[in-house]
């Protein structure tokens, strides 16, 4: 095997890995656990709040911080490739670049190449579900 072949194989492996991972995982180091309580009397809801660990993690820069996205550029290549392999029903907190908002009936979608995402609130976070093309 030449050095070039090895490098190409390594690059392919990295890309394949990028495809397999959901986009949100790329942010793993900057996810927060969202367990800090902002009121004392939260536990009036006994059913839910006893299990603090069940609370999902929340990406700290999820809020479409268009003016602040330090890893955005680094992600661009992998994310563009990932569009083709978006799994229907999976959720992500970040969209691939170059999406177009499309209103179909009462529902707003983000169309990103061939993939369609439907935004929704999960708690106070905006998350995107990969859906079948609505039209």
């Amino acid at each position: 095997m030449t050095r070039q072949t090895v490098l190409a194989a390594a690059l392919a492996a990295v890309l394949a890995l990028g495809l397999a991972l959901p986009a949100a995982d790329v942010h793993a180091g900057r996810n927060v656990k969202n367990t800090t309580r902002t009121s004392v009397n939260k536990n009036v809801n006994v059913n839910k709040n006893v299990n603090v660990n069940s609370r999902k993690s929340v990406d700290i820069d999820v809020d479409v911080d268009r003016d602040y996205h330090p890893v955005g550029t680094a992600l661009a290549v992998g994310a563009t490739v990932a569009v083709t392999s978006a799994v229907i029903g999976s959720m992500t907190r970040t969209l691939p670049p170059a999406c177009v908002p499309v209103q179909v009936g009462a529902v707003l979608y983000q169309q990103c190449g061939g993939a369609w995402y439907q935004p929704q609130y999960v708690g106070t976070s905006v998350q995107y579900i990969v859906v079948n093309p609505p039209r």
């Binding site: 180091g29 800090t36 004392v40 009036v44 999820v62 602040y68 609130y121």
Partner: protein
């Protein structure tokens, strides 16, 4: 001249040493003397519980107010590192069922508008809003969005104190720590402990016992993250008809709010 300076220095030094020795003796005396004979303070000091009760009672008398809080929240990153974000929380309130809340941190901005029938969450930068029906009081709306949609609006305690859901029975330890200055205001400092959370509140003394500051420490987390808020009150705010009505700004899109799996 030289000699006199030396003497002055020596005398000064001796005086300081004597003062220090006296102070040490006084402290030791205080510790070993009367204090040792005293019974330990009760776990729940009545004074602290009473102050909390009085504050709650007063809060419930407020019909119209706005409160603006400077906040600092610790967040724990996946790698275990604790970081802090600054922010503000602004409540505009007309009891019992009108509320507009603005929550801004360095990373996230949210608005919540409750008009007595519907509560709306809006993310101005993303341009998304979600509305769900919520009838009843502000407190009931806060419980609903927390329980059903996992939406925790900060400082919800302001609407629980002074009700039968104030959680006073959950308090295991309560103490009065003394007077304090919060941004130039004189406030009394209290500390409380309960399951999963240690918390402190500074309360304005006198006829308007409002909270000046709060610190909430989540003790159920190993790194014990804290939420700090310093509150400024306006008891005679001016609101207009639009204050408690959510009108989608141009370009805003309505999306769904996913209910918690258990609440479906």
């Amino acid at each position: 001249m030289q000699l006199r300076d030396d003497i002055r220095r020596t005398v000064g030094m001796l005086r300081r040493t004597a003062l220090a020795a006296f102070a040490t003796a006084a402290v030791a005396g205080a510790c070993l003397g009367p204090a040792a004979a005293q019974a330990p303070a009760p776990a729940r000091e009545a004074r602290a519980i009473d102050a909390l009760t009085a504050m709650g009672k007063y809060l419930r008398t407020l019909k119209t107010f706005s409160v603006s809080a400077e906040t600092a929240i610790d967040e724990v990153l996946d790698n275990g590192q604790k970081v802090q974000f600054g922010g503000i929380v602004e409540y505009r309130v007309q009891s019992p069922d009108r509320m507009r809340v603005e929550v801004r941190t360095d990373r996230r901005t949210r608005q919540f508008v409750f008009d007595g029938k519907t509560i709306t969450q809006y993310a101005p930068r993303a341009g998304y809003y979600a509305s769900v029906p919520a009838r009843g009081t502000i407190r009931e709306a806060l419980v609903l969005v927390d329980r059903k949609y996992d939406v925790e609006i900060p400082l919800a305690d302001l609407f629980f104190w002074g009700t039968d859901q104030a959680g006073l029975d959950d308090i295991k330890e309560a103490a009065y720590l003394g007077p304090a200055k919060i941004g130039g205001r004189s406030c009394d400092h209290y500390a409380f402990r309960q399951e999963g959370v240690d918390w402190q509140v500074w309360i304005q003394p006198g006829k308007q016992p409002l909270p000046c500051k709060m610190v909430i420490t989540t003790t159920s987390e190993p790194s014990q993250p804290q939420y700090t808020s310093v509150l400024k009150w306006d008891l005679a705010p001016k609101f207009d008809a639009a204050t408690f009505r959510f009108t989608p700004p141009k370009g805003a899109h309505r999306i769904e709010a996913a209910p918690l799996a258990a609440a479906k």
